[in-house]
Amino acid sequence: MIDEILVILSNTLASMVPLVLAGVGEIITERSGVVNIGLEGIFMASAFTAAVVTFYTGNPYLGLLVGLLVGLLAGTLHGAISVYLRGDQIIAGVGFNSLAYGLSLLGLVSLWHSHGSSPPVNKMPMLTVGRLSIPPLSIVAVLVGIIAWWWLYKTPSGLRLRACGEDPRAAEAMGVNVNRTRFYATVIGAGLTGLGGAYLVVGWIGQFTKFISAGRGFIALANVAFSNWNPLMAIVGGILFGLFDALAIYAPIKIQESTGRIITAESNLFRTIPYLATLIVVTLIMKKVKAPRALGKPYIKE
């Protein structure tokens, strides 16, 4: 029994990392007033580059770093479009998802003549605490969440960043360079998402595949709303979803193991568990929505 719980826990932690990293990253971005729905695309691009680098260097940490860099780069693109070029942030995000998917796959084909997956690459070793295996990045993700919270709510620069998302005109009048702040918030947010993308490869399954993000970018986006734009709650959201996800896998296996019952089409019903359960939890806990007021609106000075 204990061992079962440990595996569920370890699966939970494994699933939670990208949702928390990207969720927290997106919270930072959105708190400054910019929406980036291109998380799925950032996952793809950074996962791919992380796989490439790790494959050729054998060093998963280098892969992680490159994933982070690619995330930052993606953020630079999105930041430039949405902040300086005043582009439509949603369109840009939708486009980026497609572009990143396409480019990663083209890269995959030209490097490994494969249309689906990279070769296996080295992974970061798991931490083991007793019989529990923990992906080291799960600790990082939790820390990132806490630090982000501290930054946004307890430091001057966090206050400034939030001011840009609430009322950019007022922020500007109080000496905040709105465009620059938003730009950097977008870059940092995307960087964290990139870290999450790299984790998918070097921290989790040890290879890149063409469906590696599998909708997780959107779940991370939902996690932002779940958290009510609070990084601490995003940690909770990521863990909850990860737990439900782990349970959805565990339940049918356990039922089959213990009762001998065969589960076929009903497996689809089990797959709905994480989504429905999350929705129910939200319904129970949500009170007042605290979305940034100026979210998604370009700031035009004159």
């Binding site: 206050l159 001011a163 609430e166 500007e172 007021r293 000075k301």
Partner: protein, 498 residues
């Protein structure tokens, strides 16, 4: 040495509006310099340039003899320029303290919120301008928010302080306090630029005044050497009637009665605590009071936007307490809110704004008849002298005065029986002010009932046939204008029985 020299300033907004055409402004160190002009004259634009928020298309700025080229407001702040905007620049969801902290950071990156609290408390002590530091700004009345703005600028150690229409939402007592503060600051050598539409204030507080018109400077004069009339003439280039001719009231039946009305605000706090009022045909009932004493909640409850939790509203003998706004509008109640942000949809066309409260007139079985809507808008434009390129122009491209005319006009063309209007002339120049006031009196003369809610005491005294003073959601006194002196009004508005 002049503190501010702005020379040959041109400003063309991105959409091609030429706001300033070669303005030269010279403000001496340590003086209070008035800036006067009609709506759209370019005063705010000039100040935004001084504050580095926007860049001039052409022209030079010198502060204390040194040429400056601000990269943004923070740059201006560092150079000792402080600004109190007409539309507040506070982050509405932050607390007062957070806002002040944010404002002080560019000057001293190492400052802590605790230090800001101490500084603020000291400053409040010195100036008598009190603000609640722990409150979230958007929950504060506009008057208090303005005080926060002033405190903020003072805390930023501004050597040059520009105030864009700072008095429009303050009580006479507060205005006096502000003036005292300004004089105090002047003594300390701070240079003040003061924008207002109120000539009286110009006369009272400024040393010199620059008058602007259509993006150009008409002239700069020593305040002591000119009369209010002279200033008005400079400003609009024509004779102005300085006082309204008002015929005696001829009140008829009671059309609107409010009994023991209790209303809560957004936060669930009781903002109107049992108001009883009667309104007759052919009279103007003025409600005087400091912003945030329940006026908005009262007005919204009367209009049906907000449901009271106690009390009754009777219109023409019928209990309308439970009716929504749309239904009440249909019955003949009209309401002009105190904020154009609420009353108008900036991104929409003029015609789309005109029909906002006139939908029943321009729809038939759910369909909008745009022809009817357009001719209704033309009517508003014509009757109220709105300067607009076409009814299809976005309303945000109109000047504030013209926007206000649309907002008032579209209610009047409906010929309402009860006209509730809040702050009808806030921020309007004298021409527009005069026009709107005239309109209100005409309405009264045609037998309509008008409920005027205003923080501008001159306005209340000038227009009302009866005055009610509101304080913390209660009516302190009701009476004819003659029964109130400015002083008594001030005391009542401050909650002192007099």
């Amino acid at each position: 040495m002049p503190a501010v020299e702005m020379e040959g300033i041109f400003k063309v907004y991105p959409d091609g509006v030429v706001a300033l055409r070669g303005v030269t402004l010279r403000v001496e160190e340590g003086e209070i310099h008035g800036l006067l002009g009609e709506n759209g004259a370019g005063k705010s634009t000039l100040m935004r340039i001084l504050y580095g928020e926007i860049k001039p298309t052409e022209g030079r700025i010198k502060l204390f003899g040194r040429e400056v080229n601000f990269s943004g407001p923070w740059d201006a702040i560092r150079h000792g320029v402080g600004m109190v905007y007409q539309h507040f620049t506070l982050v509405p969801t932050f607390t007062v303290l957070e806002n002040l902290y944010l404002a002080l950071l560019p000057l001293n990156p190492d400052i802590t919120p605790e230090e800001v609290r101490k500084l603020a408390e000291k400053k409040m002590e010195e100036t008598g301008l009190r603000v609640p530091l722990g409150e979230v700004v958007e929950n504060l009345p506009i008057g208090v928010q303005q005080r926060v703005e002033i405190i903020k600028a003072l805390l930023q150690n501004a050597k040059i302080l520009a105030l864009d229409e700072p008095t429009s939402v303050l009580t006479p007592i507060e205005v006096e306090e502000l003036f005292k503060t300004l004089r105090e600051l002047k003594k300390e050598g701070i240079t003040i630029i003061f924008i207002t539409h109120k000539l009286k204030e110009v006369k009272e507080i400024t040393d010199r005044v620059t008058v602007m018109r259509r993006g150009e400077v008409v002239g700069t004069v020593n305040t002591g050497e000119v009369s209010e009339k002279d200033l008005a003439r400079m400003m609009v280039q024509r004779e102005v009637v300085m006082s309204l001719q008002k015929s005696p009231a001829n009140p008829g039946e009671v059309v609107f009665r409010v009994e023991n009305l209790k209303v809560r605000d957004e936060a669930g706090i009781e903002a109107v605590k049992g108001v009883t009022l009667e309104l007759r045909e052919g009279e103007v009932l003025g409600i005087a009071g400091v912003q945030g004493n329940g006026q908005r909640e009262l007005a919204e409850a009367l209009a049906g936007i907000r449901l009271p939790h106690d009390g009754r509203i009777i219109f023409e003998g019928r209990d309308v307490t439970s009716l929504g706004a749309a239904e009440r509008y249909k019955l003949g109640i009209a309401y002009v809110p105190d904020s154009r942000k609420v009353g108008l949809v900036g991104d929409m066309k003029i015609v789309e704004n005109v029909i906002l409260t006139n939908l029943p007139r321009v729809t038939s079985s759910g369909r909008i008849m745009w022809d009817a809507a357009e001719s209704l808008s033309e009517e508003v434009i014509k009757r109220f002298d709105v300067v607009a390129p076409s009814v299809k122009a976005p309303i945000k491209h109109l000047s504030g005065g013209n926007q206000q005319k649309v907002m008032v006009g579209r209610e009047i063309v409906r010929e309402p029986k009860v006209f509730i209007v809040a702050e009808p002339t806030q921020g309007l120049d004298i021409g527009a002010t005069e026009f709107i006031r005239r309109t209100i009196l005409n309405l009264r003369d045609s037998g309509k009932a008008v409920l005027l809610i205003s923080t501008d005491l001159d306005e209340v005294l000038q227009l009302s046939d009866r005055i009610a003073v509101i304080y913390e959601g209660r009516i302190m006194a009701v009476g004819r204008p003659e029964e109130f002196t400015l002083e008594r009004l001030g005391l009542l508005m401050g909650g002192v029985d007099a």
